[in-house]
Subunit: 210 residues, 2 copies
Amino acid sequence: MTEVEKQTEDRIFESATEVFIEKGMDGARMQDIANHAGINKALLHYYYRTKERLFEAVFEKMAKLIFSRFAPVLDENASLEDKIRFFYREHISFLQKNPRLPAFILNEINRNPARIRKLLWKFNINELWNTLEKQHHDELIRYNITRETLPQVMTSIAAISVFPFAARGIMEVLFEKSGQDFNKYLEDRKEFAAGFVIRAIKGCETGTNV
Amino acid sequence: MTEVEKQTEDRIFESATEVFIEKGMDGARMQDIANHAGINKALLHYYYRTKERLFEAVFEKMAKLIFSRFAPVLDENASLEDKIRFFYREHISFLQKNPRLPAFILNEINRNPARIRKLLWKFNINELWNTLEKQHHDELIRYNITRETLPQVMTSIAAISVFPFAARGIMEVLFEKSGQDFNKYLEDRKEFAAGFVIRAIKGCETGTNV
DNA sequence: GTCTATAGAAGGATAGAC
DNA sequence: GTCTATCCTTCTATAGAC
């Protein structure tokens, strides 16, 4: 592949990424992508054959980008509490740089869950539990986190950082109306989210159940 | 308006609701809606003139439906803790009956935030704070909830019930892969969510900050 | 009020020249 | 590899009969 080919293909891919994230698969137009890349429609088909294939390429790249952000936290050598703090700092910072990504990914998966199935084939919640238990055996017991409640805990953790971006359209309107700053809220949220979750699971400590 | 007119108009509206929620504004086809209602396309335009108007009617109805569910909790005469428990029982039960609603509403707002602006014109976060302070003055102080942290708390509460539905496509795949039941998870979540949030804010009690 | 038929525009995809 | 021109389908919307 020549340098020029690479340049064009990359420019198409980047343009497609922007347009698809902005408009979604159904709302995006090949003409928009071509215009954005400074080329004509025919060239899009030359490189990617169909809109569907171009979309799949973009979707897969973005999905991997966002999901890969969840993994590294497990590699850290730290307490569960510190991992939670680390996760929110990293994850919210990442989403601040890619604020439209969660809504895009969630929506396209809901429209067609098959898209995510092949990307998650190697993920297993039981393996996740085994990994966590190896690293945090005592803490899990102390915080009363079991194999059964793990999904509840994990989805609550994810919800707290992802939701403000998934609901960005509403949040920005509400903040604007009350004269508050959404970016300030997100900055604060890195700390707040960690504290919120840690208190929630520490309240579970054996003998102190609510 | 005759009875027959009402019947047809209602059938169109209900069909449009299903198709728009299923496919979204951009993915929906007037032909699908007509087929679903057992009529022809021309009749859709007779009643609603354009696809855009038909969509706006559906969107407004559904948005009001979902947002109106947040208000009644404030009318209850109960402690903050009990209101949280009440909210999750009611809200998650409602979403179980309308599982695609959150993704639909959030996505269409993100595509075009103007849609929600006119529906939220009378909502004011400062008024919400005033109401809460009147009803729960002592508890707010005890739990260290201030006018500044209120958005953090409220969005966390909403996130925990809404996220599983907004991310329904992923969740169902993950649960299926690990042989778990999404409906069981949702049933359990009514209790879990309340406990999680209550512990998170109680951990904030003056003198017990983490 | 409801239908058939069709206008008119837009969008995805391809042929063929260079 | 890139372009112009165009095909063909699909979709919204309307005209006009009943």
